[in-house]
Symmetry: C3
């Protein structure tokens, strides 16, 4: 990779956490560019913190603008909508400078690989059941790929399970023990430049209708509902301080395991451990998200945890921009980019 | 209206969001004045961001101070307690400069007019049932006028419904489909000065006992509870970024419809769409609040959404003060005030 | 007590709200020191806002460092983990300058004394039942001492109650009416220097599994759960502004009662009233915490309520440091410290 002679431009798809990423770039003195489809152009044009909006007809047209993005020194900052909108293959094949390690994507997408990663990191996970063995406790049925929580189903016993499995014909899914407890999403950032792991914020998802049914008393629930887990928003949390040592240790083990399992560059930048904490304060990790998560949108104006590290409101989006800015100034961008094939030639 | 020669003073009733409004005024360099009754005087006197407290014996005594308010160049900033404490008639007849369009008040208060407004704006709403037709799904029974959520009742079927309707004798109410999903309150601000619609923050209400009963397992709920929806507080939310384009479009349609239906000045300043989002991410709007809502009190020190527009912590109260301050400097206060009859003469 | 010739150092145990206390000290220009055990040393060393970490082998070794703490002009800022880790006796016998009035500790720990305190302050509390009288409504069974909510049990009737009481053999506990409503934790600060009571923030606890079971519909709850109340985190709230006058009055009555019942210095600095608000907006106080509570960790980067008093983000931890700093500059530290026996000699 040749040294970057010009200041990089932060580019992302217009969705998910694009506003946060754009504002973060601006706050760190970097130009930003949002690539989006017609129905969202007006949204991003509305915000003064967005420098440029590049409209494409559909997400499938993304390859047609890659040359343009390279010409503007763009660095792509990925988020949860990349796989959802571009597909895993197109996401990986994007031929533009990319913040992060694309080799992680397969390990994030495939639930079996992700589980291997967590086991390598000695992360406590819920028990998995195979399709044929039957279950002895409630399970969640989860399909592969980021789907914003929709399509999850709760089966209390084998009778439930059989009914649901019929609906899943042809889909890839796992059967995961349902842990009785409360959900918590811990937002990490590993800085390659500072060699430091940071917990920047914590949220819980706001799910429809799972977070609404508790407001109905049982006499109104009867026969009314199967819960659904469609994520429509997020709400902020803090965690008991005595759990922080283990949360940091878990984050560090996940990074170390990624270097062993995936590629030497490993996981860096933003990631999230999604967990259930039970009544004994045991933490069961449900999922690793190896990129910025939407829950960080709560903290565009700062978070209690980020404030322990930084004297300005430091969102995850801004943290990414700062990492890129520091790397650019030190002429070390190669340490935090997945080099695209074009540049490698 | 004669041009304002002196800087306006922001005045409001001591309740609801008065502290936020007062601090917002101070932060924008405007003097503030809180009009309140004896039991609340000590509260407002306690806060250094409140400039003046004017005590009246009861809210009914409000007309007796109008002359004084006019003499101090006061502009009234209304909130949810105005109708509750002054009544709709007295609120409308206040003879002091008023931020907002009073013609909107009737359309906010009368649920049938409000519904017409939402339909004109192509806002998706829950189905309404007439008293006599019977119901085929759960409904919420709601009385007219802002009541902080108390008095709402949930009827699952026609048997429930008959029981409740007996209690409602002589009251005006509607029967509204109960949407299974999660509530979300989106806080908008339409700036006449900047010709710009802004989403400033989002909350959900914290209701007693609806938000407590989910913490009881069913074996303890049996026979214990009918849910109640008394708003005692609020908690912050963020929304999925992919829903923002439609949320902005909804806000803009509500403004356009208000100009067609209500009066050419239309709706401006702060307003709130109160919605339920179901598992398919469909947004059903339950109510328009055509003024600052109490959920904005969560964001006196800034919000993730306001931060996308502003470089200082911008509460809705401060946004109002900024709009007034800009209009004053441009000699365009007439564009954002409902002119009282005294001034018009 | 001899006048402090050197700037005090803020010292606390590494747990609970230590990061907030340390950052607060730094932001107010005071040096900080965290005393912790080996498993938490790495956590506190990680944060640039922590000046010094002093490792001890176990909390039992605390007396061995008292001389050192005195030599560095340390002032201990206590939090909820002091009694949990040191025990009430050791906590009280610490021979180092101490922010707060240690005489309050017995009244906080002993639920019967605490109740007497609340009654003296005319605070509305849930009904208590004696062991032998039987119950006529749901009750919570609570053991003595801060335990983070774990071990609480809900008994709906006398049959439930008998079953649970068997498990409690040898423990001290109370039987408290279960109020149907929503919880709210109000964070107060009484400044001796400013002679002012401040509400700084409000939270609700995030409890496992009580805050998870509402996400399960009844068909999945059957036979599955007894609720537990282990506090694993916190989430932010605002309260209806019309409740603030009574909340301030309650706080002031608690302080006045403490001067009458406990010692002339009374309660000062941070404290929390933990309450349930029912559907009529009646506030039932469950507990007084006479020190900083963990819910304040949500507000390290400011709170809507603190912002009404202060122009910088004012956490409770920072508020404590400011009180100490002001007292030091005025040579009035004796007014806010419980003098240890060493100094008194």
């Amino acid at each position: 990779m040749k040294p970057w002679s010009k200041k990089p431009v932060i580019a992302t798809l217009g969705s998910h956490s694009a506003l946060q990423i754009a504002k973060g770039a601006r706050d760190e003195g970097l130009h930003n560019l949002i690539v989006t489809i017609p129905k969202s152009t007006a949204l991003y044009a509305r915000y003064p913190c967005v420098n440029d909006v590049l409209e494409i007809e559909s997400y499938g047209a993304f390859p047609s603008i890659e040359k343009k993005l390279r010409a503007t020194n763009a660095i792509i900052v990925p988020h949860g909508s990349f796989v959802a909108y571009l597909g895993l293959k197109q996401h990986k094949e994007m031929n533009v400078a990319y913040f992060g390690n694309k080799n992680v994507l397969d390990w994030e997408f495939d639930r079996r690989k992700q589980r291997k990663w967590m086991e390598e990191a000695s992360i406590v996970v819920p028990k998995l059941f195979s399709r044929n063995e039957g279950i002895d406790r409630p399970v969640i049925i989860k399909t592969f790929g980021a789907a914003g929580g929709s399509g999850y189903m709760l089966a209390k016993n084998n009778t439930d399970l059989k009914k649901y499995i019929k609906k899943m014909a042809g889909k890839q899914y796992i059967l995961q023990e349902y842990i009785i407890g409360v959900p918590m999403y811990v937002h990490y950032f590993y800085s390659v430049m500072d060699k430091r792991l940071e917990i920047l914020s914590i949220d819980r998802r706001y799910e429809s209708n799972a977070d609404g049914i508790g407001r109905l008393p049982i006499q109104h629930q009867t026969g009314l509902l199967e819960p659904s887990y469609t994520v429509v928003g997020n709400s902020p949390l803090s965690v008991r301080e005595s759990l922080l040592p283990e949360l940091y240790a878990m984050g560090e083990r996940v990074i170390t395991a990624s270097k062993n399992l995936i590629s030497p560059q490993g996981l860096f930048g933003p990631f999230c451990l999604e967990m259930i904490i039970d009544e004994r304060q045991h933490m069961y990790t449900i999922e690793i998200s190896a990129r910025i998560v939407a829950g960080t949108n709560l903290f565009i104006n700062g978070s209690p945890y980020a404030d322990l590290f930084f004297d300005v409101p430091m969102s995850t989006g801004r943290r990414i921009a700062r990492e890129i800015s520091v790397a650019y100034k030190r002429k070390q961008l190669h340490k935090i980019l997945h080099l695209d094939s074009h540049e490698k030639k």
